[in-house]
């Protein structure tokens, strides 16, 4: 597309404006928001809108570059390259280095990442890098000038980040508009918009980061925005509890993030640069063992941020925040940060987990487990948002599963489609609750809403269809691609390693359709069970819904398999567009290694089976509720259901209701123990042992004589008399109870006697 001589498009050079706009709007809203006519909302919308326009420009520039390159340069087998720009002088954008390996001739490859860096700070010296024993160890030389390693801050533009730019700005914009109606008259309207802006900015900052250090910064900043927005109504304790839980669970993962990034930093010869790390991971300069440890550490971060099993528990609780926040942060954007990070450092994970190898890896397994475990929990929720939250957990599991089995594009594509239909569903749930007087309880306050709010109903149906993978909606294409990517189904061309994830994926396909049917029925069908008459929401709510729903219909066609395109006689260029645009083929490419990164072959049979499974499961649930409706129009569950008749099913049901007891484990056992006994023990040691030593040292010298007197005279003489009396009384008690017929007492006797006998043998014999 553009070689070393050409200049880089303006937008890629200045893409930092995209996060900068919402950041500026945050400051403006924070300081002047309350004095503005619309209390700051207009600033937020304007800034995010402008950011969206810039993101659109970036997207189309990127697509244009790729398509042009494809036209002129057919061979995709170009060697890797990266375009680097030093932005620190602020002068004309000049390509400083177009690092090309091999015999790069003229034009760079399509999809090469474009890195624009300025130095952030310098720390450390080169001398430190000289390991001892090396020939030229010049250690003490220091000429005064700061000769630190530059640690850079900058932007990295490639298909993946452009895709996320588009998603984040679009969803954020729609959520901003939606919120103006939804949180209208809220006690902290201005702060709400300030934090939405800050979140958008932090998310975009993270998406564009060119270094892992910057990624950590963005990662934590989105976390703190999530904290502030979950706890938006902090007057009520459950909300602030949920916020705390989210932050702390994420902190646990952040330990992994920090350690993992530190390992990578040193492994990549002291570099935070993402492209460098990826290059070194691919070329084998970093030992696989190191990569594996780093990948495992980073996996912990993914588990917490992207709600993977067993660190997912914060995500359903995070629904305590306002609904638009759930749509933006806890469905479409922030929670996919983990998935995004895997994609960013995919070579590290790919090599570290030996994804192309012949054994099941942690990522695919965790993803698979999450997708089923999360889906199962969605069945027992009363709260419509919690169902969607568990469904998000489940779908995030899908993405991780996809990346874990090596289906990079499928994972990213699912991230892309999921953002739209899940945001649509969440906003739909918000609209429903807006109508039902801010209740989210499906069983108590909803039902039969399809007549009262048709727009919400139809958009929700479309979102559900997309989520359940009904063709031709968006979710169908991405989900199918993941199932294909597992490479287990006959004819998809894998080595059969990922059978378990594949089975999990199929199960989820059925479960998703089933629990979403349950939601639809409970919310929109049957008779209305609430109190006052519901009403359709206003245009500021419905328009975003319609836009998102239409996205949920359309975006799936971006990545149709070529076989499908051929079968329908569509132009061949329509096939796998998304793959061409997003999949890295620049430096981060890993083609050509012996552990080859391959694409699976799509299979029509698999698509039919998976869709059929989903539809069957959905119909079964539908039938279940239809029968119930005929018994009692207002009922939401059978009075004497199987869970109350069969003990085993009941126990299983209870296991789900108790969320696998994970919350008991975290809150009751781990947090409880740390906050309670362990912390008290530390404090006790402090007060009594450490402080005690200090204090006693002082006191001993003063009152030693008195102590001796008291102990000898009062305690020993008196105490001996008292103790002998007690002993006699209690030994009589033992003898009286010896013959009681209880197993326990016999056991006590037995063990006691064994101990005594053993003692006798040891000491006497």
């Amino acid at each position: 597309m553009f070689g070393a001589e050409e200049t880089i498009p303006w937008i890629f050079e200045n893409v930092w404006l995209v996060p900068a706009l919402p950041a500026a709007s945050f400051l403006v809203i924070l300081f002047f928001g309350k004095r503005l006519p619309y209390k700051g909302a207009e600033v937020g919308i304007a800034a995010v809108g402008a950011a969206f326009v810039l993101a659109l420009i970036a997207t189309f520039t990127w697509i244009g570059d790729i398509d042009n390159a494809e036209g002129g340069d057919e061979s995709h087998s170009e060697e890797a390259a990266v375009l680097r720009v030093d932005g620190s002088d602020g002068a004309l954008p000049v390509v400083l280095t177009a690092e090309e390996e091999g015999d790069g001739h003229g034009g760079g490859p399509r999809g090469a990442p474009i890195v624009t860096d300025v130095e952030w700070f310098g720390i450390g010296t080169d001398a430190n890098q000289v390991t001892l024993g090396a020939e030229d160890s010049v250690a003490t030389e220091s000429d005064g000038a700061s000769s630190g390693f530059g640690i850079s801050i900058g932007t990295l533009v490639d298909g993946q980040s452009v895709m996320l730019l588009f998603v984040v700005t679009l969803v954020s914009l729609l959520v901003h508009v939606f919120s103006t109606d939804y949180v209208h008259g809220d006690r902290r309207y201005t702060h709400y918009f300030a934090f939405l802006s800050l979140f958008t900015s932090a998310m975009l900052f993270m998406v564009l980061s060119s270094s892992t250090l910057q990624l950590i910064v963005g990662w934590e900043l989105v976390g703190v925005c999530s904290f502030a927005l979950i706890g938006h109504w902090w007057e009520e304790k459950p909300n602030s509890d949920a916020a705390l839980k989210a932050f702390l669970t994420n902190r646990v993962g952040d330990v992994g993030l920090m350690v993992g990034m530190i390992i990578l930093y040193f492994a990549a010869d002291r570099s935070f640069d993402i492209v460098t790390i990826n290059e070194m991971a691919v070329s084998g300069e970093i030992p696989t063992g190191t990569l594996t440890i780093a990948a495992l550490c980073l996996m912990a971060a993914v588990m917490s941020k992207s709600g993977q099993f067993i660190l997912h528990t914060w995500l359903p609780d995070a629904m305590a925040g306002p609904t638009p926040v759930s749509a933006l942060i806890h469905a479409a954007t922030m929670v996919v940060a983990g998935v995004y990070m895997i994609g960013r450092l995919y070579p590290v994970f790919f090599e570290g987990f030996a994804i192309a190898g012949s054994s099941l890896n942690a990522m695919a397994f965790i993803g698979g487990l999450t997708t089923v475990g999360g889906g199962a929990l969605a069945f027992v929720q009363r709260d419509i948002k919690k169902v969607l939250a568990y469904s998000t957990v489940s779908q995030l599991g899908y993405m991780v599963l996809a990346l874990g089995v090596g289906a990079y594009t499928a994972g990213m594509f699912h991230l892309f489609t999921h953002a739209f239909f899940k945001a649509c569903l969440f906003l739909g749930a918000g609209s429903v609750s807006h109508a039902c007087h801010h209740s989210f309880d499906m069983k108590a306050d909803m039902g039969g809403l399809r007549k009262h709010m048709p727009i919400t109903f139809w958009t929700f149906i479309i979102g559900t269809g997309a989520l359940a993978g009904i063709p031709p909606l968006a979710g169908f294409w991405s989900k199918d691609e993941i199932l294909v990517g597992a490479g287990v189904f006959p004819g998809t061309g894998g080595n059969g390693t990922y059978t378990i994830p594949f089975i999990f994926g199929m199960m989820t396909a059925a479960m998703t359709a089933a629990y979403m049917t349950r939601v639809i029925w409970l919310t929109f069908f049957g008779d209305y069970r609430g109190h006052e008459k519901p009403h359709e929401s206003g245009p500021r709510i419905t328009v975003p819904l319609i836009i998102l729903a239409s996205m949920a219909v359309v975006v799936g066609f971006l990545n149709m398999p070529s076989g499908f395109v051929k079968a329908l006689r569509l132009p061949e260029g329509w096939a796998h567009r998304f793959e061409d645009w997003v999949e890295p083929e620049g430096v981060a490419s890993f083609v050509g290694e012996e552990n080859d990164f391959t694409h699976a072959k799509p299979s029509l049979a698999l698509a039919i089976i998976a869709t059929g499974l989903g539809i069957t499961a959905g119909l079964a649930v539908w039938q279940y509720y239809q029968r119930l409706y005929r018994i009692d129009p207002k009922a939401t569950e059978y009075p004497n259901g199987i869970a109350s008749r069969n003990a085993v099913v009941g126990a299983g049901h209870r296991l789900l209701v108790e969320k696998y007891y994970l919350d008991h484990l975290y809150t009751g056992i781990i947090a409880g123990a740390t906050k309670g006994p362990v912390a008290r023990l530390a404090n006790w040691i402090n007060q009594n042992v450490l402080d005690g030593i200090v204090n006693t040292a002082g006191r001993l010298s003063v009152g030693a004589g008195q102590l001796v007197y008291r102990f000898f005279d009062q305690a020993v003489v008196d105490g001996a008399v008292n103790a002998s009396g007690r002993t006699a009384a209690s030994s009589g008690g033992i003898l009286r109870r010896i013959q009681s017929g209880q197993v326990r007492e016999y056991a006590t006797l037995m063990f006691g006697a064994a101990a005594v006998l053993a003692a006798i043998f040891i000491f006497a014999v």
Partner: protein, 99 residues
Amino acid sequence: MFLNQFLFLAAALFCIGIYGVLVRKNGVLVLMSIELILNAVNINLVAFGAYRGDIGGQVFALFVIAVAAAEVGVGLAIVLLIYRNRRSIDVAEANLLKG
């Protein structure tokens, strides 16, 4: 590493298990305490295996784990039976051995 540090850990767990068996009323809790005892034994087996460089220790630990699974199954069945017959799983009430 000393051999004894493992043996002492095992002994401690064993005695805690004994304590649990002796003082707990709830049948399920008694079963849990027995699990603790079995685990203590397992630590010993594996530790001695490592000490003597003999794979047998580990093998028997595996056997014990399998037996423990069986034991829990049967034990729970018995607890369930007691519960069904007496509406209580207080092992103190199971005193048919009384002379």
